[in-house]
């Protein structure tokens, strides 16, 4: 069977997720993917479907972050998450080591993909994180200040932007900073639900 081949190949590369789990993920993928009408179209999840899954299953809300998660999953940039990309991505989501998660998060946060998280990018990601206070003259003042605080905390080489080295060092020092610029990994509760034994899962997976 084709499925088995894929499974074995994927298991070979992504041994952090065990074989049964990979099978489950693939099954899940196929229940999620709507059979394309055109036989030649690529089988996969497009941006909207994927965002919907992120929102419903993993409880993410920030549009921009969800877009970035899609880009991070879609490694070959074909605007479609294939089954391999799906398993790769979810293996980080569910069983990723800190190392893998750091790489993934950095990729999500590096909006323009230039290898640095700049002040502007931070501002962009944090702009909705504070309650607006009507009393303040400049509504963005708080956000700007928050960006400076973050840089002070994470920018070890003082070049005014975060390199991956900076990010890695900061996160190793304080794990809470892994998702410093917005939630892009599943919540622990979702995770617990997701990682239940396959048997238990059949009963509860309504999605």
């Amino acid at each position: 069977m084709k499925l088995n081949i894929i499974t074995s190949v994927i298991t070979f590369f992504y041994f952090t997720v065990n074989k049964i789990e990979v099978e489950c993920l693939i099954k899940l993928f196929h229940t999620l993917v709507v059979e394309p009408s055109d036989r030649h179209a690529i089988i996969g999840l497009d941006r909207n479907m994927f965002r919907n899954i992120l929102h419903v299953t993993f409880g993410m809300t920030d549009d921009m972050i969800m877009d970035r998660v899609f880009r991070a999953f879609d490694t070959d940039n074909d605007s479609c998450v294939s089954v391999t990309e799906w398993v790769e991505g979810l293996s980080i989501f569910l069983r990723g080591t800190l190392e893998e998660k750091m790489k993934y998060c950095f990729e999500v946060y590096d909006l323009n993909g230039d290898g640095y998280i700049s002040r502007e990018e931070m501002f962009h990601m944090l702009k909705n994180s504070l309650l607006k206070q009507p009393s303040e003259e400049d509504p963005d003042e708080g956000i700007k200040d928050l960006v400076e605080i973050t840089l002070k905390k994470m920018d070890y080489d003082h070049d005014g932007k975060l390199s991956y080295t900076d990010f890695e060092k900061a996160v190793r020092d304080e794990n809470l900073l892994l998702e410093a610029f917005g939630p892009c990994l599943p919540d622990i509760k979702v995770l617990n639900h997701f990682c239940m034994k396959p048997g238990e899962k059949e009963n509860t997976s309504a999605y």
Partner: protein, 896 residues
């Protein structure tokens, strides 16, 4: 005290009938003075303490049984009678004992006593001595009577009367000090304050109060709104205040200050809270939202003048600066929270540490559950706030007003401050950060909870912060977090509880909210011996360690010890005791040694084979751990089997080795204590002699703190029961320092020293040295010590001295008044004292001349009065041998 009580004490006027003595600060200090007087009465004036008052002083108390004292007066009435609802006390001695027993309820008892006895002097001395305003002739009358007849009662009465008048004077003086500090409010001041607050009240988020209304619209011409019959009590007006965050407050403004009344539907004039100096102070205490919004108000207010006025009322001193034009150019300055209770960063921090430390020692070494009361430090005048203050304030703002992402960033950034420093700890509190941090614990966001706990864990090193956390209900939430599936979260919560639960109220809260059970639950992890642990198992062990830390703090309260036992904590602690890691062992052994004050734990430590592990850890590297092990052995080795177990597991040698580490005094106190208790078994003493522990103990007789000395001397006392050791002590010069210690004052030390000296005196060679150093005279003078234990121990020690001294009879006679003193001790109530004194008298009576002297002092009637008790004592006490009794009896017959 009569005048002070009628004039100075504040009796509630509102109630009808007797009136009650409420606990205002003034009354409290009066009561405390009276308590201090009554408590120390029996030790300071022992003669007057036995005075039988004709009229009893009755209390109202809550206990339900009937108890009477053995001590009776001339007519056979018990001196203390405790019935269902009242206590009757008929002598000062009993009164001071009662107060001792009442412990922390002292204040209540004194209050009840004075309420029931409005003029205690009449009760004590009789109706002729009532408190009279103006010229008081009673003293003169008393003096006359005393001259006329020499009734000893009258003399004592006179003395008591004088003492009471002295107290009265003292009380008046101190209450005068209180009264002069008071602020008097006027109707105009209240009106101003109310108008001002109204200006900032109303609907909406940012106002300081929802509403503020007078109960009465009508204003009298003098500015008061209270009805005239209440105005005579100094009341000005009544207010109904609705804050944003609490139930409506019903407030009375009176000339004495502002307080809550008991209004629900109709005005109830009875005072329900402390008196505050003004309305804002009261609201500030009741409503956190008020404090918070008040700071905002000023910032938003367009009218700087108005704001200025606001502060003038709110805080007298802090806002001096706002009067300068500087304010307008730097509006941020005004955002400053008006209650900055911190200043002088360096000094208080260090003081704090010192007091904290002594606190913990006293707690762990004894059972006293004293609360560490840290006085709030008020800032006087204006100071430049450290820059951290502003940064922390900003971060708290982001935590409060941010989503999860912003909150986590702000929390992480806050951890970069030096949270061990008091400036930062108090800054977090003063900008309202503690509340925010505790609120985060109640959310669903695990990251926020972790971030918040990481900060709380650090700053709860500060005792003021601990109190505030407990006040905000932080403990309840943290106890709940212990159920979380996230192990990091559990660890942090347990560690923070360990810090916060260092005072009694917090420990009680933990227990009442089911914290003990949950903490004991954390201890349950994999068997520790196994070699390769998975990361998951390692995490479980870490959780157990944090649980043990929290239990260690909690175990300082007796009820918690019981709760830990009932939750099944003992077997789990026994299992963790096998851990090879000091960081696990320290809290586990710490908890065990704390709990070893309870017999149930001592039994469990023996039966669950924990002695073996305790002994093993005595020879480790970690001094703290060694100390806890030693003090656990100290507490457990009262039991004979336990002492044998310590020897079987080879614990005596490490103890002897640890003696040489004389730098760490806490460790030394624990080790010497363990040696003392172990030395009660003879086999152990033999071992200690082998390890040359006796020589080392003798060295420790000088230049050591009292805690160490008590144990060292106790140990030597036990060792001395063997003749060989008595010689060793003599040879290494132990007798002079021992005799020297007889001049001390510590009761426990004196009991041990007398025992040791007595044991040494059984060797004639030692006795020569003791005699030369005048040791017998010192022992004899200890018969005058107020503690019966010391008296008895000294009397026992005198026996061998008389037996072994040369010219003992002559020596005894040379003590002026000595024989009279020892005979007078036959009047003691303490059986041990009686037994020991009888033994000493038996020895004294061997000398014919001395026998004559003691007969003159009336020893025969005293002994025959005691006949029944004595024979009972003699039969039960193997220290006294029959022949001597017989000898004494024959001598008695000769003279009597």
């Amino acid at each position: 005290m009569g005048v002070a009580l009628t004039r100075a004490a504040q009796w509630t006027s509102a109630g009808s009938g007797t009136g009650t003595l409420e606990l205002t600060p003034l009354n409290e200090s009066l009561l405390n003075d009276i308590i201090k007087f009554a408590e120390n009465f029996s030790s300071r004036h022992p003669q007057e303490a036995v005075f039988f008052s004709l009229y009893e002083v009755s209390f109202y108390s809550s206990s339900g049984t009937t108890v009477q004292s053995e001590e009776r007066d001339k007519d056979g009435q018990p001196l203390l009678l405790l019935t269902a609802s009242t206590i009757k006390v008929r002598s000062f001695g009993q009164l001071s004992r009662l107060l001792h027993v009442a412990m922390e309820k002292k204040l209540k008892e004194a209050q009840a006593c004075l309420q029931a006895n409005r003029d205690p002097i009449v009760k004590i001395l009789g109706p002729g001595y009532g408190t009279i305003e103006g010229e008081d002739m009673s003293m003169l009358r008393l003096l006359d009577r005393m001259k006329k007849d020499d009734d000893p009662d009258t003399e004592i009465k006179m003395k008591i009367s004088l003492l009471l008048q002295q107290l009265d004077m003292q009380l008046l003086n101190s209450s005068l000090k209180h009264i002069s500090q008071k602020v008097r409010l006027s109707p105009a001041a209240v009106k101003n304050e109310v108008d001002l607050l109204k200006h900032f009240s109303g609907e909406g988020e940012d106002t300081v109060l929802e509403s503020l209304e007078y109960t009465s619209e009508y204003e009298f011409s003098n500015g008061c709104r209270a009805p005239p019959w209440r105005q005579v009590h100094g009341e000005i007006c009544y207010l109904i205040v609705k804050p944003h965050d609490t139930d409506p407050l019903y407030i009375t403004c009176s000339t004495a200050g502002v307080f809550l009344n008991g209004e629900k539907d109709d005005i109830d004039y009875e005072r329900k809270s402390d008196i505050c100096k003004d309305l804002i102070t009261l609201l500030r205490e009741r409503s956190p939202k008020f404090v918070e919004n008040m700071a905002k108000q000023v910032f938003d207010a367009e009218d700087v003048g108005q704001a200025q006025k606001f502060y003038d009322y709110s805080e007298k001193n802090v806002f001096e600066k706002t009067k300068s034009p500087l304010v307008k150019s730097k509006p941020i300055d005004k955002k400053l929270e008006p209650s900055l209770k911190w200043k002088n960063v360096g000094l208080p921090a260090s003081q704090d540490k010192v007091s904290e430390k002594s606190d913990e020692i006293s707690e762990s070494s004894s059972e006293s559950e004293e609360d560490e009361e840290q006085p709030e430090r008020h800032q006087e005048g204006n100071t430049d706030l450290p820059s951290e203050y502003w940064q922390i304030q900003k971060l708290v703002k982001y935590i409060k007003g941010g989503n999860q992402t912003a909150t986590v960033i702000a929390l992480c950034s806050m951890r970069d401050f030096n949270l061990a420093q008091e400036t930062c700890q108090l800054a977090i509190r003063d900008v309202g950060g503690l509340e925010v941090l505790i609120n985060l614990l109640d959310t669903e966001e695990i990251k926020c909870k972790i971030g918040s706990l990481k900060i709380l864990k650090e700053i709860s090193q500060n005792s003021q912060i601990r109190r505030t956390i407990a006040d905000f209900g932080g403990l309840q939430i943290m106890v709940k977090i212990l159920d979380s599936p996230d192990k990091d979260l559990k660890c942090l919560a347990a560690e923070t509880i360990a810090n916060v639960a260092r005072f009694k109220r917090a420990r009680r809260t933990v227990r009442q909210y089911g914290g003990i059970k949950r903490l004991v639950g954390l201890l349950d992890c994999v068997p520790l011996g196994s070699a390769n642990l998975t990361p998951r198992q390692e995490k479980d062990i870490e959780v157990a360690r944090c649980g043990a830390l929290a239990l260690w703090s909690c175990s300082k309260s007796t009820k918690n010890k019981e709760a830990i036992r009932r939750a099944g904590g003992i077997p789990l602690l026994a299992r963790l005791l096998k851990s090879p890691h000091a960081n696990m062992l320290t809290p586990v052994v710490g908890t065990l040694q704390e709990c070893a004050s309870e017999p149930s734990y001592r039994l469990a430590i023996k039966t669950e084979r924990m002695i073996e592990n305790l002994v093993k850890n005595l020879s480790g590297e970690n001094e703290e751990l060694q100390m806890h092990c030693a003090s656990a052995i100290f507490k457990c080795a009262e039991d004979e089997e336990t002492r044998d177990l310590v020897r079987h597991h080879g614990g005596l040698q490490p103890l002897a080795i640890l003696l040489s580490n004389s730098e760490n005094k806490e460790l030394l106190a624990a080790v010497t204590g363990a040696i003392w208790k172990c030395a009660i078994s003879r086999e152990n003493v033999t071992k200690f002699r082998e390890y040359k522990a006796i020589e080392t103990l003798v060295v420790l007789l000088t230049d050591q703190p009292e805690e160490v000395l008590v144990n060292v001397v106790g140990a030597l006392g036990e060792c001395c029961q063997e003749p060989a050791n008595r010689a060793i002590i003599r040879k290494c010069g132990g007798i002079p320092p021992l005799v020297n210690l007889l001049t001390g004052t510590n009761k426990a030390l004196l009991v041990n020293v007398t025992k040791a000296v007595g044991a040494c005196a059984t060797e004639p060679e030692n006795m020569m040295i003791i005699d030369r150093l005048d040791g017998v005279r010192l022992l004899w003078s200890l018969l005058k010590n107020p503690h019966p234990d010391v008296q008895a121990s000294a009397a026992w020690a005198i026996c061998p001295c008389i037996e072994n001294a040369k010219d003992a009879g002559e020596m005894v006679r040379s003590f002026v008044g000595g024989l009279e003193l020892i005979v007078s001790l036959l009047k003691s109530e303490n059986k041990e004292v009686l037994a020991s004194v009888c033994a000493a008298i038996t020895n004294i009576a061997k000398d014919e001349e001395n026998l004559a002297v003691i007969t003159d002092h009336g020893v025969v009637p005293l002994l025959s009065k005691l006949a029944n008790t004595v024979s009972e004592i003699f039969l039960n006490n193997d220290k006294l041998r029959k022949p001597k009794l017989l000898a004494l009896a024959t001598e008695k017959a000769k003279y009597g």
